[in-house]
């Protein structure tokens, strides 16, 4: 096995490095038509061009040298960087709860990847303790890397192996489980685990970070502390997402896995509970419930693991003027279940009717959710709604589109019987459809729960 001496370099730049025998991590002195440059040759990101060589100069900055200006260069030394988060053994403290942390990748712990120029996940209890020593005051920690994928690469296979891993840990008598996860699809996993791990006796907390832990202002450390505290001490034994409440480093919120959604591409406080209030507020010192009813922590181990999933499920996001061939194609490709995301109270245009009828004849299960995200599907108000129900589309109440997609995959993994599918879809496992929407569910700005509650009490909104 030979080591790559020219990591990421290609084309002209690679030829030049080879010609002058200069390696990546070599200390290079380069003469160019723009003058002399000196520094350590760094690896180059695969997606960048082949016209430049990257140097780390003595002051720590990186600069690129244009290969077309190079007159000559030589390697005057070699020193490879050793990038490692300092590892320290996670200390054991008598009487503190035991928490298991599952690593799946994502930015909760990460480091630089030269290949892509982006951050890649890095993870071990020692590393975590090295970076966030406060964790040792909360719990005794054991970690296990289940897999390392970016959030967008998480899928049914990963949900099922996670569910099984959770089952095993509960069997062993763990006090709480934390899952480190990229944020993009955190809420999909939240829904999947809610369906796959039923009757949980302990909290299962999904946590991520919006700013990678390689930056000083990262939300990773605080999120992790909150998540560990929730797993170790909280009385709420459900699958929950734990992320920043406000953008300030103040408190986190615990969201129900079936009611949470990522609502901003980059804000720290991106996760919001939709159609309800969050379960609780959490700070480093206390957990304050917002919802009064929830599944309480128990001392038994009677969890029910249901690791099922049917991959041939898809979503159809309706837009005005959509033609029927889209839906036809889905059916022709063999999709067994389709979550339609309709406008308003749950509508699509009449041009789709023939395709809907065709789909129903072929036994495709179709359900209606909403583009408005907030509110209930109500298909009785207008004719189009009634027409569609007649053609076999089943309204899913206030189930979120992503949750509906996950649930349908999970249901179809168990049965294909239309009545059974319908029954399972409409019977909530943990509030994916709620019976009532609280007045403040939509109004509460989740970055300032008590303050805004106070505000809406006084001001008509």
């Amino acid at each position: 096995m030979s080591e790559d001496l020219f990591q990421g370099y290609k084309g002209e730049a690679l030829e030049l490095l080879k010609k002058y025998h200069v390696r990546v991590w070599g200390h290079a002195v380069i003469n160019t038509t723009r003058g002399q440059f000196e520094g350590t040759v760094l690896p180059r990101s695969e997606n960048d061009d082949d016209k430049h060589i990257v140097l780390k100069i003595i002051t720590g900055y990186n600069v690129g040298v244009d290969v077309s200006t190079v007159q000559d260069m030589k390697e005057a030394g070699f020193k490879k960087a050793n990038y490692a988060i300092p590892e320290k053994e996670f200390p054991y403290t008598e009487n503190l709860p035991h928490v298991k942390l599952f690593g799946t990748g994502g930015t909760i712990a990460s480091r630089l990847d030269y290949r892509t120029g982006a951050v890649i996940p890095a993870f071990s209890p020692g590393e975590l303790y090295g970076a966030v020593p406060e964790l040792a005051d909360i719990c005794n920690l054991d970690t296990e890397k289940v897999f390392a994928v970016f959030s967008e690469n998480m899928g049914p296979k990963q949900y099922m192996s996670l569910a099984k891993a959770i089952g095993k840990e509960i069997e062993k008598g763990i006090d709480g489980i934390v899952i480190g996860h990229g944020t993009d699809t955190l809420h999909h996993t939240g829904a999947a685990l809610t369906f796959m791990c039923q009757n949980l006796p302990v909290p299962v907390i999904l946590v991520g970070s919006q700013r990678s832990s390689d930056r000083p202002s990262s939300d990773a450390a605080l999120n992790l502390m909150h998540a560990m505290k929730a797993a170790a001490e909280s009385d709420i034994a459900e699958v929950q997402v734990c992320m920043f409440g406000p953008t300030s480093d103040e408190y986190g919120l615990l969201h129900k896995g079936t009611r949470v959604r990522k609502m901003h591409s980059s804000y720290r406080s991106t996760f919001r509970t939709i159609g309800d209030t969050p379960l609780a507020m959490i700070s480093r010192t206390e957990i304050t419930p917002i919802k009064k009813t929830y599944n309480k922590r128990r001392s038994d181990k009677n969890v029910v693991i249901k690791p099922f999933f049917e991959d041939k499920v898809t979503m159809l996001y309706y837009y005005p003027g959509m033609s029927a061939d889209i839906l036809d194609s889905m059916v022709d490709m063999g999709y067994k279940g389709i979550i339609i995301i309709g406008t308003g109270l749950g509508h699509v245009n009449k041009e789709l009717y023939p395709a809907i009828e065709r789909a129903q004849k072929k036994g495709v299960h179709m359900f209606m959710t909403l583009q408005t995200i907030w509110g209930y599907v109500q298909m009785f108000v207008y004719d189009t709604g009634r027409d569609m129900m007649a053609k076999g589309i089943i309204p899913l109440g206030n189930m979120l589109p992503e949750v509906a997609f996950i649930k349908l995959g999970w249901v179809l993994g168990q049965t294909n019987d239309p009545e059974e599918v319908k029954k399972l879809m409409l019977t909530p496992i943990n509030d994916e459809i709620t019976e009532r929407e609280p007045y403040n569910g939509y109004l509460v700005y989740q970055g300032g729960v008590p303050e805004v509650e106070e505000f809406i009490k006084k001001v008509h909104k």
């Binding site: 160019t32 038509t33 723009r34 003058g35 002399q36 440059f37 960048d48 061009d49 016209k51 430049h52 990257v54 780390k56 100069i57 003595i58 002051t59 720590g60 900055y61 990186n62 600069v63 690129g64 040298v65 244009d66 290969v67 077309s68 200006t69 960087a81 050793n82 990038y83 490692a84 988060i85 300092p86 480091r111 630089l112 120029g117 982006a118 951050v119 970076a131 919006q210 700013r211 990678s212 832990s213 390689d214 930056r215 000083p216 202002s217 990262s218 450390a221 605080l222 406000p246 953008t247 300030s248 480093d249 103040e250 901003h264 980059s266 804000y267 720290r268």
Partner: protein, 659 residues
């Protein structure tokens, strides 16, 4: 009997031993003896419409209490690209600061608070910075790499500043030599601090993200005057583009100083170049004094490891306290500690800077690192003793003290800060065995400095994974190279050739006014010497004594002289017109003449008055002296003459008429 220890005497003796002389009396030999070495980091805001990495307007500033929201962040140290922690980062983490940012919607968006990734770099700013890089004779990079530079003090909410090198290895000439440049970077400006008390630091975000450049020199300056001259040159160079911001805080510099055997110490945020000489002078001698302390300690102890401090908590009630700060600490429920520094007698009162001694090094760090507001300690070598003989006896009863050799520090702090305070004291004392700690220091107008932070190193750099590299093609650089202004060294030469007085150069170049002089003298019939002197003296005087109207600009000087020439007025009248033009730039020139009560006359008409005045002078029996008589008559006619005839000609003509 042994003579009692006198801290004042010790201070004076150690000052003498360090060879400290006031700057005005210092010679190059003094600086050579201590190995004075200094370089600069000159910051300059660029004149752009928008900020560097987002689309907020640049230059919209707010008062401290004008904000829409506050957010809070805590910073944690992270690893550098090469896998190291940075020393400053660890120090800042120790301080456990709550950092609050005030946000005004007009001047900041979600980017400033690190909730939105950067947009593409501001091209306007990049071009200005590249122009300045070329003027600084730097080697321009082939590709710009945005780097994150960690700042855990909170001055940037992200915890890092986005910055990028545009050029390396340049040079600027000063009168007697060339000063080499290490690099020039473009970066985003930081927050402005509102307050920093205890564990709470408050910033505002209006300035945050504005485009800024930093020019870094090698430590090529060998005396304080050279540092100032270099700094002025770089500032003039930046200004010569006419594309940089001016006014309070738009240009500021950090000055790096060391002495032979000392360390690099960075004096931060020096607002005026005129402060530089005193600051660098004092810092070099501070380092020299710290080296003497090192020598002394290494004589007293075999090694640093042999030295160990001791401490214990004191009960307030054991003492009769008269010292007000300790009374206050007691009332606030703070804890009181005594720290024994073995073998430190004579060190605490050792000279470091004018009116400062080694104990100040400790108290400053207690404030910054342990967040204990000053006054935070007393010690056994104060000029006005606070720890009395009776106190010493009580302390001796709980901690064995060798009064001949040891020094004591008593500090008070909230319980949570005691641990950091003890570590801080111990650390600073241990550092004394090694000489001069690398640190950044805050400057004061009187030329002294105090500890600000541990000096950050290259370990705080990290590639910005949120932005792609920006290639700079040869064609692009060539195009920019064609629009460069004249070199500042050439401007100096022009002023010298014109014989404009040397003391006006600073003003003229700092306002980039040579182009104005050129335009007036090339299009009108005035000498560069006259115009240069007029601008360097009269314009400067007016600027310092009258209030400027918002729409005044220096090009109005061109119009004024054109008016004076076209109206065939004597050029001296400019001096009387200028204050009005400065305060009312929209007033037309005839109206300005009205305002200064100018009446058109001829030389003949004015001279007609002379015989009468001679007669009057003699009649009144004044002093019989030709010069006095000439001056008196000139004075009588001066008002009429201004603008109508040259005042020197007037005097000469009068002189000729007096018998």
């Amino acid at each position: 009997m042994k003579k009692a220890f006198d801290p004042i005497q010790n201070y004076q003796e150690t000052m003498k031993k360090a060879g400290y002389v006031p700057r005005k009396e210092a010679s190059q030999e003094d600086y050579d003896r201590i190995g004075f070495m200094s370089g600069l980091e000159v910051h300059q805001q660029l004149l752009t419409k928008r900020k560097l990495f987002c689309h907020c307007p640049a230059g919209v500033l707010h008062s401290d209490d004008n904000y829409n929201a506050e957010i809070i962040r805590h910073m944690r140290p992270t690893l550098s690209e090469l896998g190291e922690y940075d020393g400053t980062a660890l120090m800042e983490f120790k301080t456990r600061k709550n950092i609050t940012y005030r946000i005004n919607n007009e001047s900041a968006c979600t980017y400033e608070i690190d909730d939105t990734p950067p947009f593409i770099i501001n091209k306007e700013a990049l071009e200005i910075a590249l122009e300045i890089s070329m003027l600084s004779k730097l080697n321009i990079v082939g590709e710009v790499h945005i780097t994150r530079k960690q700042y855990l003090d909170g001055s940037i909410p992200a915890g890092f500043q986005r910055t990028a090198i545009l050029g390396v290895e340049g040079v600027v000439p000063i009168s007697n030599k060339d000063i080499r440049l290490i690099q020039l970077s473009i970066e985003e400006d930081s927050c402005r601090e509102i307050s920093d008390i205890g564990h709470e630091r408050v910033y505002k975000t209006d300035r945050l993200g504005m485009p800024l450049i930093e020019t870094v020199t090698y430590p090529d300056c060998k005396n304080p005057e050279e540092v100032k001259e270099t700094c002025d040159y770089i500032r003039f160079l930046n200004r010569s583009t006419d594309k940089v911001r001016t006014g309070m805080g738009a240009a500021r510099q950090d000055v790096n100083v060391s002495c032979k055997g000392g360390s690099r110490v960075e004096i931060k945020g020096v607002a005026h170049t005129k402060w530089i000489p005193e600051l660098t002078h004092n810092e070099a001698f501070r380092q020299w004094s710290l080296l003497l302390i090192r020598e002394e300690l290494n004589e007293r102890f075999k090694s640093k490891d042999e030295w160990k401090m001791d401490y214990t908590r004191l009960e307030y009630d054991a003492f009769s306290i008269t010292h007000q700060p300790i009374k206050l600490a007691k009332a606030n429920g703070e804890h009181l500690y005594v720290v024994k520094l073995p073998g430190f007698k004579g060190i605490l009162s050792h000279f470091t800077q004018p009116e400062k001694c080694f104990a100040d090094e400790i108290t400053d760090r207690l404030k910054v690192i342990a967040c204990i507001e000053k006054p935070n300690m007393v010690h056994t070598e104060l000029a006005e003793p606070v720890i009395t003989g009776a106190d010493l006896e009580i302390i001796s009863s709980i901690m064995i003290t060798d009064q001949e050799n040891d020094a004591l520090v008593i500090f008070w702090a909230p319980e949570d800060d005691v641990k950091t305070a003890l570590e801080t004291i111990e650390e600073r004392c241990q550092m004394a065995f090694d000489g001069v700690p690398e640190e950044t220091r805050k400057s004061f107008e009187n030329g002294t400095t105090i500890f600000e932070r541990v000096l950050p190193g290259a370990d705080r750099m990290y590639p910005d994974t949120d932005s792609a590299p920006i290639p700079l093609s040869n064609e692009y650089i060539d195009t920019l190279g064609k629009q460069l202004p004249v070199d500042v060294s050439e401007r100096f030469k022009q002023l010298r050739d014109w014989k404009v007085p040397t003391d006006t150069y600073h003003y003229i170049l700092s306002k980039n006014l040579v182009p104005v002089i050129e335009e007036i003298t090339e299009s009108l019939d005035y000498s560069p010497k006259f115009i240069g002197t007029f601008i360097g003296q009269t314009m400067k005087y007016v600027e310092g004594h009258y209030s400027q109207a918002a729409d005044f600009n220096y090009n109005l000087l061109i119009s004024m002289f054109r008016f004076i020439q076209e109206e065939h007025l004597e050029k001296e009248i400019a001096k009387w017109m200028l204050p009005h033009l400065y305060e009312h730039p929209n007033m037309d020139f005839p109206s300005i003449l009205e305002t200064i009560k100018f009446k058109r006359s001829t030389e003949d008409n004015i001279m007609k008055n002379v015989p009468l005045l001679i007669e009057k002078y003699e009649k009144e029996g004044r002093k019989q002296c030709k010069t006095a008589e000439k001056d008196w008559i000139s004075g009588q006619l001066r008002k009429q003459a201004i603008g109508n005839m040259n005042l020197k000609t007037l005097a000469n003509n009068i002189e000729a008429l007096i018998k």
